[in-house]
């Protein structure tokens, strides 16, 4: 040590460079801009939502709460919401989990159908799915009722009930549960089940004592996430519930805002109630998820287990799979296509078949709104996906790689919108920009802001996951080779991140394309998107034109996703 000190002082006493003025590097500017944007998008709407709910012209008030929760029907509102959420979650869980188990662990036939049944409902927008079910099971015009009439009398099934709502929402959510549970079953070390078999346990005992307890964290998390999504769902309660006055939070908020004069404070109070429920659900599922981590075990060499032989149950299960496919995928699509070719909605008959024509599509061509809506949807989808992925790629770098203090805050802010229901976000943003001097309200850009905010968490998740898969050494070796931060990011990280980012881009494109619950409160004439136009046409009773528009929308999505995947194949995106 004694020899070291003179050297140090010698260095210090000889100033090699004059003290430079501090100047922000491009890296710092980019980081601050990204962090600022995320913080702004996540927090400002919440702030204004609180402000708009608790303050009016005269100052602090609880008037909104008094109107919203003083209503005598509030009990049934909360009851319906919880019942609807729990029912849909349980239905989707039972269907999705059974399908996942059959697919991963048994020799069930028609495994190819699983893929279609799990991907296609993600492409069919919720509003079209709901309307298809109205065509199928409404008491007046439903095809199923027409088919059952000779046996069970008129209106055997009624979709405009809480059970109908649970049925449609549960089925629409079941593919997500299926994908989650397939992942859970696959990631489980198969030897955990095999060893139980070797210990003499029967298949049923293995399922009850090993499989279910081990996947319990995944099951509980799936149930909670699905319950939150059902709580936030707008399409199903609005189209199916309002008919018979079955209100849940989302449809009530919509109703309050659509009546004259709109009571913003009361809507805000309801929105806060919904927000609290959603936060609770997400918080519990996170807790469960963390507890589940302790269950992760060393996995062996991943020997694919012999699928369980169903024996005499195989045809039964095969029939069940086909039924599921017909119900969730084929029937809604077919009924949409069928309706789009009719002059007016009617049950299939020779007369109906003879009257079929492409008139509705011709009418669409003449409808200037339709072209505008398609253009708007395309613009919003592409712009949202691009903006979100670009910003989140940098945000992911900050949280995963940098050592900047407070970087975890960026991560947390980016996930805030996950708990904000779309309708609540729409309401909050209208609070913000009605008061803001920036002339955004009434333009398409308010929709862009809403979409970017809503899908920020998904972009973040995709970016963080792909960022974590890239070894730090790759980046460090670029730095050692003399690349600047920006060069490293652009030349090394981005190309490696590309597949993950593109997957996120496609996902966000699809979900923005079908967004309804935020848009419904923010659009203005001339700025409609496809889902809004379909919603309006449903309210006007233009079922056949709507169906044609729906077909166009689904086809556009299919083309978009296909093109994106084809492009993705060029940058090395693997399909799984």
């Amino acid at each position: 040590m004694s020899t070291a000190s003179p050297v140090v002082t010698a260095n210090r006493s000889a100033p090699l460079t004059p003290r430079r003025r501090w100047w922000p590097t491009p890296k710092l500017i980019i980081i601050i801009a990204v962090a600022g944007a995320i913080g702004y998008l996540a927090l400002v709407p919440l702030y204004y939502l609180l402000w708009g709910t608790f303050f009016d012209a005269s100052g602090f008030t609880l008037g909104g709460f008094a109107t919203a929760y003083g209503d005598s029907r509030i009990g049934s509102l909360i009851g319906n919401s919880l019942w609807f959420a729990a029912g849909s979650a349980v239905l989707s869980l039972v269907v999705g989990t059974s399908l996942a188990y059959l697919n991963v662990r048994t020799d069930v036939p028609f495994k190819a159908l699983f893929f279609a049944a799990s991907i296609i409902p993600l492409i069919i927008p919720g509003i079209l799915y709901t309307i298809s079910w109205i065509f199928l099971a409404s008491p007046d015009i439903g095809l199923i009722n027409k088919a059952l009439e000779p046996v069970f009398g008129p209106a055997a099934v009624d979709i405009f009930t809480i059970w109908g709502m649970i049925w449609v929402e549960g089925l629409h959510l079941s593919p997500i549960v299926f994908l989650l549970m397939v992942a859970a079953f696959r990631s489980m070390d198969p030897s955990l089940e095999e060893s139980a078999l070797m210990c003499g346990a029967s298949r049923l005992q293995v399922f009850r004592k090993i499989t279910v307890p081990l996947t319990r964290p995944a099951i509980v998390a799936a149930v909670l996430v699905m319950a939150v999504r059902s709580l936030e769902s707008f399409e199903v309660p609005a189209l199916l519930g309002l008919q018979n006055g079955i209100y849940v939070f989302t449809s009530r908020i919509y109703f309050v805002l659509r009546s004259y004069p709109p009571d913003l404070a009361a809507a805000g109070a309801l929105a806060l109630g919904l927000l609290v429920l959603a936060v609770l659900g997400v918080a519990i599922s996170n807790l469960v998820g963390r507890a589940g981590k302790s269950f992760q075990t060393v996995t062996g060499k991943g020997f694919r287990p012999r699928p369980m032989e169903l024996g005499k149950w195989r045809p039964v299960m095969g029939a069940a799979i086909v039924c599921y496919f017909l119900l969730t995928v084929a029937a809604p699509l077919v009924v949409l296509l069928y309706t789009s070719l009719l002059k007016f909605y009617q049950a299939p008959s020779m007369a109906a078949l003879r009257s079929m024509s492409l008139d509705n599509y011709v009418e669409l061509l003449g409808l200037s709104q339709a072209a505008t809506a398609l253009r708007n949807s395309l613009f919003l989808g592409v712009a949202t996906a691009t903006l979100v992925m670009a910003v989140m790629a940098i945000a992911a770098w900050i949280t995963v790689r940098s050592r900047i203090p407070g970087r975890q805050l960026i991560d947390q802010f980016a996930f805030v919108p996950l708990v904000i229901p779309g309708l609540v976000l729409g309401l909050a943003l209208s609070f913000v920009y009605l008061r803001s001097p920036i002339p955004i309200y009434g333009t398409i850009f308010i929709l862009l802001i809403a979409y970017v905010t809503r899908y920020m968490p998904y972009g973040m998740r995709y970016s963080v996951t792909s960022m974590q898969q890239i070894a730090t050494e790759l980046e460090e070796s670029a730095q050692v080779s003399g690349a600047s931060w920006w060069q490293t990011f652009r030349r090394v990280l981005l190309p490696l991140l590309a597949p993950g980012l593109l997957a996120g881009w496609i996902y966000i494109l699809v979900v923005s394309f079908r967004e309804l619950s935020s848009s419904i409160l923010l659009y203005s004439p001339g700025n409609e998107v496809l889902s809004i136009l379909i919603f309006e046409q449903y309210e006007n009773g233009q079922f056949t034109v709507l169906a044609a528009l729906g077909v166009v929308m689904v086809l556009t999505l299919v083309v978009l996703v296909t093109v994106a995947y084809k492009l993705g194949a060029k940058v090395g995106l693997r399909e799984n």
């Binding site: 070390d189 030897s191 955990l192 095999e194 060893s195 139980a196 078999l197 070797m198 210990c199 003499g200 346990a201 029967s202 298949r203 005992q205 293995v206 004592k209 090993i210 307890p213 081990l214 319990r216 302790s294 269950f295 992760q296 075990t297 060393v298 996995t299 062996g300 060499k301 020997f303 287990p305 012999r306």
Partner: protein
Amino acid sequence: MLRVENLVKSFDGERRRRRAAATGATDRVFAVNDVSFTVPEGDMFTLLGPSGCGKTTTLRSIAGLERPDSGTIEVGGRALFRSLEGQRVLSVSANERGLGMVFQSYAIWPHMSVFDNVAFPLQVRRRGQRPSKREIGERVGRVLATMELDALAGRQATKLSGGQQQRLALARALVIEPPLLLLDEPLSNLDAKLRESLRYELKRLQRELGITSVYVTHDQTEALVLSSSVAVMRDGNIIQLGKPREIYQKPNSRFVAEFIGTSNFIPAKVEARDGERYTVNALDGPLALNSTADIAVGADVIVSIRPEAVEVGTVPRTGEALNEWKGTVLTRAFLGEAVDHVVRVGEREIRARGNPSVSIRPGTDVFVRLDPDQLSLVPVD
């Protein structure tokens, strides 16, 4: 005790999976292709081979986790699987075979305590055969004590160290006192030091309990240390079956000699033969050796010898000059417990491993001596 006969197990090939039944051509991959062996009571039998050789598939077929295409599997006279003219006529399911198995990943159930993991095989028995709660407690306690895990009975199974998890997996397999214990690379998940100590531990336990075991590994040292007999497998076939010493000293093929340890391979031609006494002509002179292999006079062969069976000296042995060649030391390497010399003999390099006290400077002229009892004849592939 265990009898496996003509076991065959094939999987769909990659090609068939892709181009389905369009061509109709079957493209089967034979993971196990006609394997037969028997294991006497109390023996430790090892299936040894590189990955993909079919050893694990064989073990899993015995366990009942994999269903063979054809063959016979019997344990203690009880048929577990039998086929007749390629048709399955009997296949007892895995949960009714009553065998014990230790998995590579141990497959310890993370949601149960140590005690519950071990009690599970007793608890899932059919009503009537299920022991009382008290008896379960006693039997689990006894087997946990044997494994020195009794102090940890109440602990969550995931809170155990690697070695403890391995003993727990063993305890769970042994609690039902199975007639046969199956071990699927049970040591491969442990670090080197622990693996070595557990190797001897496992050998001691197996001896003490006298339980018949089938052990699968790709680690040759493990196989040599643990087994009563070893079957070396490749591409779904057993290449050589014998006692560890035979396998090591008298490999019957270049594959076995290369897979287990290192060997010198010397091409030669059989010159004369008298029963098991052979004289072969190698490039650098004649060699005398004993071999049970049946090879005709005049045939090309490969002579294999382990480096430690090659002796290096600076002076020729007095008397007969049998199996002694002249050469020059090329390099030497100090390995700690031994010294390796690479000696150039004519066109050939021969590796010798010896006591570290003998260390010869490179460039020195030396004599190498090849022990006739440790030379083995291997057919040319």
